[in-house]
Symmetry: D3
């Protein structure tokens, strides 16, 4: 089937993002924050800046950026038990928290950050596919503001530039043999192959995580997915710029 002939359930073309909104500064408490939405997916990202670093990093003249991801129990169509009630964090949560942290550290010069710590919390208020990619994209905005806050408070030197690039992320997948951009939940569950791509503002890859949920994929399919993902991330980059300039 020709890609161009596809009409998706929500009317988008195969290479089109869902509507993106970024409410920068949503939180009155955090040093940086953004409420980001990719269609029905809504993630509240807050950045907490603290002076000092964890003990294992003390005295090395470097800062630390880390992230925690979580989902409200009724973010999804049916309610999930809270991980705090279960007393343990699930594998999926751990995996996504680690992914977000790596993605952000890839665009931070920790020496320029100085001995400061930024913790990014990404809490999914409503989930409709692509929560980890929305989280990374929104987290970058919160991170940028927290760094700016640190600069104003003189925790970061005037001539230091901790942010060396921007970063955004998007999901892509193959459905009925056709590569698609930005999968909502209904498409995600049907995808034969699911891929999350994290790309810097300069267009370089930070993470490429492709998984054959249904059928293994070949190099040609992989290339098509990467191309779509790079295109999507470039568009998200524009949304980030618009939010940060607002």
């Amino acid at each position: 089937m020709a890609e161009n002939a596809i009409v998706r359930a929500d009317g988008r073309s195969f290479d089109q993002l869902r509507p993106v909104t970024i409410e920068r500064g949503w939180s009155a408490q955090a040093e940086g924050s953004a409420l980001i939405s990719f269609g029905g997916t809504k993630v509240l990202c807050t950045a907490s800046f603290t002076n000092g670093v964890p003990r294992w990093l003390t005295g090395k003249g470097k800062g630390w950026v880390t992230a925690e991801y979580a989902m409200l129990p009724r973010a999804t169509n049916s309610r999930n038990d809270r991980e705090s009630v279960k007393g343990r964090i699930g594998g999926r949560t751990h995996e996504i928290s680690r992914l977000i942290g790596r993605a952000l550290r890839a665009v931070v010069d920790t020496k320029a950050l100085g001995e400061n710590t930024i913790v990014i919390d990404c809490d999914v208020l409503q989930a409709d596919g692509g929560t980890r990619t929305a989280a990374i994209t929104g987290a970058y905005v919160a991170l940028a503001d927290a760094i700016e806050w640190g600069r104003e408070k003189k925790f970061i030197g005037k001539n230091s530039t901790p942010l060396i690039d921007s970063v955004s992320a998007i999901s892509v997948g193959i459905i009925d043999g056709v590569p698609m951009l930005d999968l909502p939940y209904v498409e995600d569950v049907r995808a034969e192959t699911d891929m999350n791509i994290v790309v810097t503002g300069r267009g370089l890859f930070v993470e490429v995580q492709g998984t054959a949920e249904g059928a293994p994929f070949d190099k040609r399919e992989l290339d098509a997915l990467l191309e779509l993902g790079v295109k999507g991330c470039a568009e998200l980059r524009e949304h980030q710029i618009a939010a940060l300039e607002a």
Copy 2:
């Protein structure tokens, strides 16, 4: 000092609520939901309706209503570790979850609800004092919509009226000897006595929880606080009606 002469930091009089907003139906996923704000305090309340009851209640012809309260890590001025990461729920969280559940059950006829379960999640997105009272007040709106949903889905009989009253809650306290209504964080930490009052739409008490944080209090002070609280809850009742009629 005469009560009327008091001017609070945010310009309110001693018996005035902070601005209240209730965004009913905030969540596209839950059977009932409300994003409620008392000034800077914002709580997302979702109600999850499921057919059936926990095993210990099976076959008794009665439904079940319960609640869970939690706070996002950066809802407050400085970041708190997640309870899911700590692997255990703190005493304060437990206490508030139980309070919300009791408050809601006080206005539900569980026989009329039938063998259905409603779980209310109250997640504090931003905290500035009074989170438990905002949670109860918003939870009632989410609960009302979830019950309506159950009726439409025929899980609840046409002639059944599970909601026998409404319920709202407010905090009151004594600061520098003066009873005050609806304390934000800066007042809460200064209060000699802190009280949370849960009142039905008919003006009856469901919960009265007064604690001497600083100095023990006498009967006259207790009466003054109760009077303020009843007044505040009556005003919140109007906000609930307005939201549910919107």
Copy 3:
């Protein structure tokens, strides 16, 4: 029904306490201790005095008093699993531990206590209603002895008076429309409204926790309950004095 006409299952009048015993110094190990009974409810209260304070309080010239409440697995009519085996402390346990700690701190001048910590353990050996109020009442006796021990050991200055008042607690409730004092288990489960009242030796309120288990209550009922509770606490005060003077 006239209150005076009521005869309770155990033959008491509506405003009568169950038999109270306080075995001061029950433990040979603790700095202060009391085995208290309110009828069939028996609570072992021990006070552990240690020099120094938790890290977050160090250097402020103030002491710390805290409490932990627990129940033996077969204190009740049927056996409950141990919280240590379940690996987590339940909400009820947390809530009561916090209540006891607040009640005791309300009568302690932590500056006069100096940088010393007193941990009160209240372990319910047998439960028949009112365990939290018996715990507070017995804990005061253990606390008083631990403070005396600290004074003898010179951890507390000769002229310091850390105990600024005494404190006791009692449960009250409305059963079949009649307010009653000191509910045993069989009455507790039938109560429409259940209230725990913590009162100082001077007759001031430290905590007032009223909950409508069955039907919401009005101001007149609340006042009747408060009056009964104050009366009961005054009688408990006499038992405390007798124990401490023995």
Copy 4:
């Protein structure tokens, strides 16, 4: 040094037990109970009888007896954190619980018990050495009464004899080269070798657990310890008989 010349700190001879008391039926709630003391060691033993067995034993026509041991936080000279607060049970607690359970099962004919479960809780209220042996000795009394209760309630057949023997336990140790019976805490910490011996009423061994805390021991020393232990258990047997006949 000749054994007979030894005078122990508490005035006992090397082969003498500390004063033993057994308050049978201490608990008004449990089906069987005993508050046992070996000198300053006090253990509350309760036996909870329930009809039915754990799932893994269902349908085999056999009953189940198990035990849980724990210590109150201030049973000892300095306070220990609660295992419920730590969220995990320590190795020592596990080990002793398992020992008590095995000791009791050694004298129970589980077929004669029928599909019933008896859980023995041994809570150390005050600790001064030998807590596990006091627990076993007191648990037997609680167990005997719980079995009698089951017989009265007809859960156990009239002609069934689940108790095939009695069981008691004592600690022995070598101090300064001299074997001693029933070590209090001050002796226990000084013992080169520490042994716990569990013996049936007929004088057979159920458990022999000897540990060289200081110096390894030879066969002659082992024999001397066993002889002392058998003697001590025989005396404890008399105390058990007296308590059960009271």
Copy 5:
């Protein structure tokens, strides 16, 4: 620097695997097992076959394959605390367990497997980089034998072919700008980009997980890494065949 000119610390060329050994049937207990080594990395893989499936899958006529990965505390150069002692599984462990499970399920026809469950345990006995890829490669051998066992026991139908392909995995990375195959620990820590590739016997991708540890990477580098990985997996496929035919 030309790839061909590179000499690695262990003398390998850039596209050469470390010595691979597969001891099939290492465990006398499991239905399938393999002790696999990639150089100094040694992983014991066991497959446990049980009749029946988890409750959530019951009655769907499909089987289940899952995996758990863990590392002995002293598998690495310095000792790590046990996850059982810490009481929680780390994010890395979760992530790798999930990866192994997905990789194996990609080559299993769960309908053909019938309602049977196979749990693969991959325990790293010694770690020197590439533990997750060795685990996947060895797990396939254990899985194949467990399926054969199930067929012999008639749990799997004679004409069913649950294994639809083979699967192996290898790590690749960019070090000093040069793509390299199969990184030992010393290379892994220096890699700018690290990628794990899971490939079927037919040469299709199951997982592609590339992470920029140091510098983001471009499409050309990604392609070079993929090519190396496919080559390595093909060679591992030969080792698997040899082991299974032995």
Copy 6:
């Protein structure tokens, strides 16, 4: 039945060990290691040497030796859930870890060890009875090598002799009334009495742990078991010497 007439399922006589192998230095990572087998039981023992001691021992001029025991999930005939997944360590694991630690400390002069810590990990790769005794026997070899390593690294003084004796362990039991040495799983489950004996190279007892699983035992049986155990440990001592001299 005469002992000499017994033929065991594996053809051994009543007083014969299973084949013993000790692969010293199995791990390339640990300071000392041994893969020991007693018939089908295989335990990997590694010793981790670190300079310094736990905080509670600091400054006392003494070292510390401790041990942790664990079993791979499929070491046994059917798979057991991982303790890391269950989030808690079982009583049996705790008990055996403590036993191994005590056994090793009995032959170590901690003053001569200096302020160094040795952690012994005993991981059962395959289980067929006697895992704790194989663990102790192998752990001694790993310990001896770790101490030698510490001496070479000058963490231990040239003239210090931390190892004051050797130690080995074996299980014995009574089956059908006949005492037997070194029980494999099939015998272990049938044993009326089960005993683990830990003996030093000089033939002194470190631990004697006898348990009546079926019928209580008398002094004559105990003596027969001890004699068998001492004989078995002496033979294991020869295997240890051979391994350490290899």
